[in-house]
């Protein structure tokens, strides 16, 4: 395996001359490339931890490009997919994009177009992985809170004062202050505003609870 920082471009195409030519092009452009003649062979080798992107032919016997896309999605893969197709089939491209394809290119594809798409896809993968990391970090921090602290957190984010929270939870203001300090510390935030922003972000992106 290459170093974690070096992204790998996976190429899957059943037609050998195209596969070879794309590998050559990417190679010259300085990318690390791994090529496979079928979706099945790619799946057998695939490591979800690898940074990079997938250049995928749509029309292939047995398992085709769109089916591989669905399969990867089910596996929770974040690998961005650039589709290559011989025909500009609109329903196919719509379906691919809806399923989160990074790009949909029609053969023959120019080098600039392909390389730009690959660079963009790798950036996307990086960003997604970063987000993914932040989210899991946030979840980890959230998981360190006690149930009482979670209740306090919810009330703080809802914009309530300590006195109100104490009233709601049936305790004294002093106790709430201690819980609140623990929450701020465990969530590693400096201000309430920062805490609210953090919670809102992940509430939008997904479920907090």
């Amino acid at each position: 395996m290459t170093a974690p920082s070096k992204p790998i471009v996976f190429v899957v195409d059943d037609y050998a001359p195209i596969r070879r030519s794309i590998v050559r092009l990417l190679h010259v452009a300085g990318f690390a490339v791994a090529a496979f003649p079928s979706a099945e062979e790619f799946l057998a080798q695939y490591d979800p931890q690898t940074l990079g992107c997938l250049v995928l032919d749509v029309a292939m016997p047995t398992l085709n490009g769109l089916e591989l896309q669905s399969l990867l999605a089910k596996l929770g893969s974040l690998l961005p997919i650039i589709f290559l197709t011989g025909t500009s089939d609109i329903p196919q491209s719509v379906r691919a994009m809806k399923q989160g394809a990074s790009d949909f290119l029609t053969k023959p594809v120019g080098d600039e177009e392909l390389l730009a798409a690959v660079r963009l896809a790798i950036e996307k993968h990086r960003a997604r992985r970063r987000e993914q990391a932040e989210l899991s970090d946030f979840r980890a921090r959230l998981a360190t809170l006690t149930p009482r602290e979670r209740e306090v957190l919810d009330h703080v984010v809802a914009g309530k004062l300590n006195k109100q929270i104490a009233g709601d939870l049936g305790t004294v203001e002093q106790t709430i202050k201690v819980h609140r300090a623990h929450v701020m510390e465990k969530m590693r935030v400096q201000s309430v505003a920062e805490l609210v922003r953090l919670i809102e972000r992940y509430r939008i992106n997904g479920s907090v609870h």
Partner: protein
């Protein structure tokens, strides 16, 4: 001059004239023996008339006896020739009776020359001079009758019996007029002659022999009959001429030229219409080489083969060929004829007719042209449906070419060029370019709108070409193709484009029928083979999709029948027309489990080169303006 001399001479002359006339007739028609028999009778009649005149004028008994003796000679001739005439002309009378008459008469003739003075009289004692009208005197014999004359009279009696018997036979055969006229007439005049002679010889009546008038009557009856034959022949000749005219008129109006080829002399007779059909001048003398020179060079061999075959086997001559007229115009002709052989089985004559079939050929050509037009239209439509697949087929090599070329540019720009890398890239570029060209060639081949070609081709090659063309379409539709192609199949004759079109249609239809299928069942089976026992190649396309309703298995081949949203409904009907033009069959059956099988048969290429050439021409119909 004495009137007796005049009358008897005239009688004799009449007999001689008849004899001469019929002798000449017989000379022209040697097989007509009855004419010779009649001529013989007439000569005998003339001779008898002469002897009779001499008897009338005889002065001494010795003279009279000698004349009467020699007169038996023409009597013998007359009897024999009369018997022969009746046997030949009436085809009646008992043969044994005929032989008996002749033998007894011959016996009488022999006896006649043994007795002196003759068979009639043992002795002629005197000649009585009898006065006749106009102061003429004639000799009448007086003497002792020879009893052996009975032999001669028996012969005469038998002759009359023979004649009556022949008359009855003819009467019974239904030809009553003829029986009465010939049989009755001959019997009557014979009876008169024989009766008169008998009465004179036995001295019952005292008159000279006067049989020559009865003989003239006898000859008149025979002559009249033969004459009517001549009239009938003339009538037949007139009818034949009229019938000939009618035939010529019919032949002319049907644009048929009638001809006759005398093979021995190599002369050709042909009707005027026939001459104009072949562009021959009215006065031109024709032989086989002249006919041959009119034939289109490409058709000469087949016509000569047909003629030779006909001469060799005696079979009917038949051929279709083009004639090049002197003005360069082409004309299609159909010839037919029969060979006539002589007794040794050698062909001596060929008679036949030649028909102008140019219009028919033009119509055939027009029909073929329209069929091709239709086939082309349908082909373009089918390829239109496949355009996505074809574009994909083209995009593959183009894509590889572009990426390789651009990779090479980048390598060169980097300045880190490895020659080996560049070489590999260029190699791929070249081979992919070839592949793209191949796709275009195949496509252009099917889109081309050309004349129908007749090639000797392998049906497996056609199957492989079509599968190459639709490969990516099949991949897209997830159709697996299974082929079961029999190796070393005999070749068929046909148009490769049209046969590919048929197979393409069947494959596309099969894929459409399997549109809703899941992967494992989505299988297409293409099979080639020879039909058992018969001389045809079979190609079948089996799908596992939806079956065709039983009642529609024939209807699907009708024009404008379609189940598709976008279809024209012409595909299968055009396919059937194409296969029919290749003298094959196309039909559909449902499979026992699911789906349908479409198959077509094509006749295996004939080994006989000549038959092939003719067939090619009827299908292709080229070269006519």
């Amino acid at each position: 001059m004495s009137w007796i001399t005049v009358v008897w001479s005239m009688n004799g002359a009449a007999c001689l004239t008849l004899a001469a006339f019929y002798f000449v007739l017989w000379c022209n028609q040697r097989k007509s023996w009855m004419h010779l028999a009649f001529s013989g009778s007439a000569v005998a009649g003339a001779a008898l008339t002469g002897f009779e005149l001499a008897l009338l004028r005889a002065q001494t008994t010795e003279q009279y006896g000698a004349i009467l003796r020699w007169a038996q000679l023409p009597v013998w001739g007359l009897v024999v020739s009369l018997v022969v005439f009746v046997r030949l002309y009436l085809r009646a009378g008992r043969p044994w009776l005929a032989w008996t008459v002749c033998c007894v008469r011959t016996l009488a003739l022999i006896l006649n020359f043994l007795f002196i003075p003759n068979l009639s009289y043992r002795e002629i004692t005197s000649l009585r001079q009898v006065s006749w009208w106009g102061g003429e005197t004639v000799s009448v014999p007086v003497g002792v009758t020879n009893p052996w004359i009975l032999v001669a009279q028996l012969s005469s009696l038998l002759l009359i019996v023979f004649l009556i018997d022949a008359t009855i036979t003819v009467w019974r055969q239904g030809d009553r007029k003829r029986a009465l006229r010939v049989g009755g007439g001959l019997s009557l005049f014979s009876l008169i002659a024989v009766g008169q002679a008998l009465l004179v010889v036995w001295g019952i009546i005292q008159v000279p022999f006067l049989v020559c008038f009865a003989l003239l009557g006898l000859l008149a009856v025979m002559g009249y009959e033969l004459c009517s034959d001549v009239f009938r022949a003339a009538q037949l000749a007139r009818e034949l001429e009229a019938s000939d005219k009618r035939l010529n008129l019919a032949a002319d109006s049907a644009d048929v030229g009638l001809w006759e080829w005398d093979i021995v002399r190599n002369e050709i007779w042909i009707t005027d219409r026939g001459r104009s059909l072949f562009g021959f001048a009215a006065s031109e003398k024709l032989d086989f080489d002249r006919f041959r020179s009119r034939l289109h060079p490409e058709d000469r061999e087949s016509v000569l083969n047909a003629v030779e075959n006909s001469l060799r086997t005696g079979a009917e001559y038949r051929s279709e060929y083009r004639v090049v007229l002197p003005n360069g115009q082409l004309r299609w002709m159909a010839g037919r004829g029969h060979v006539e052989c002589n007794g040794d089985g050698q062909p001596v004559r060929m008679r036949g007719a030649s028909l102008d079939i140019t219009k028919h050929k033009q119509a055939e050509e027009e029909a073929a042209r329209q069929r091709n037009e239709m086939a082309h239209l349908s082909r373009v439509f089918t390829l239109g449906e496949l355009s996505g697949s074809i574009a994909h087929e083209l995009s593959l090599p183009l894509s590889a070419i572009l990426s390789n070329a651009q990779a090479a540019q980048r390598v060169l720009a980097n300045g880190k060029a490895e020659l080996a890398d560049i070489r590999e890239m260029l190699y791929d570029i070249v081979s992919e370019d070839k592949r793209a060209s191949e796709v275009i060639r195949r496509l252009g081949f099917l889109l081309k709108k050309g004349e129908v070609q007749q090639h000797c081709l392998s049906i497996n090659g056609v199957v492989e070409d079509v599968l190459n063309l639709v490969r990516s379409d099949l991949v897209n539709q997830k159709v697996t193709v299974d082929t079961d192609l029999t190796r070393n199949l005999p070749t068929v004759t046909g148009d490769p484009v049209q046969l590919q079109q048929v197979l393409l249609n069947l494959v596309v239809n099969a894929c459409d029928a399997m549109a809703g299928c899941k992967a494992p069942e989505c299988m297409l089976l293409i099979r080639t083979g020879i039909e058992n026992g018969s001389r045809t190649v079979i190609v079948s396309v089996t799908d596992h999709g939806t079956s065709v309703p039983e009642e529609k298995l024939e209807e699907i081949f009708e024009p404008f029948f379609t189940t598709k949203q976008t279809g024209m409904g012409l595909g299968l009907s055009v396919c059937r027309t194409i296969i029919a033009a290749h003298r094959g069959k196309l039909w559909a059956t449902n499979n026992p489990d699911c789906g349908a099988t479409f198959q077509f048969s094509l006749p295996i290429r004939a080994t006989n080169g000549q038959a092939q050439m003719i067939n090619n021409r009827t299908i292709a119909n080229n070269g006519l303006d």
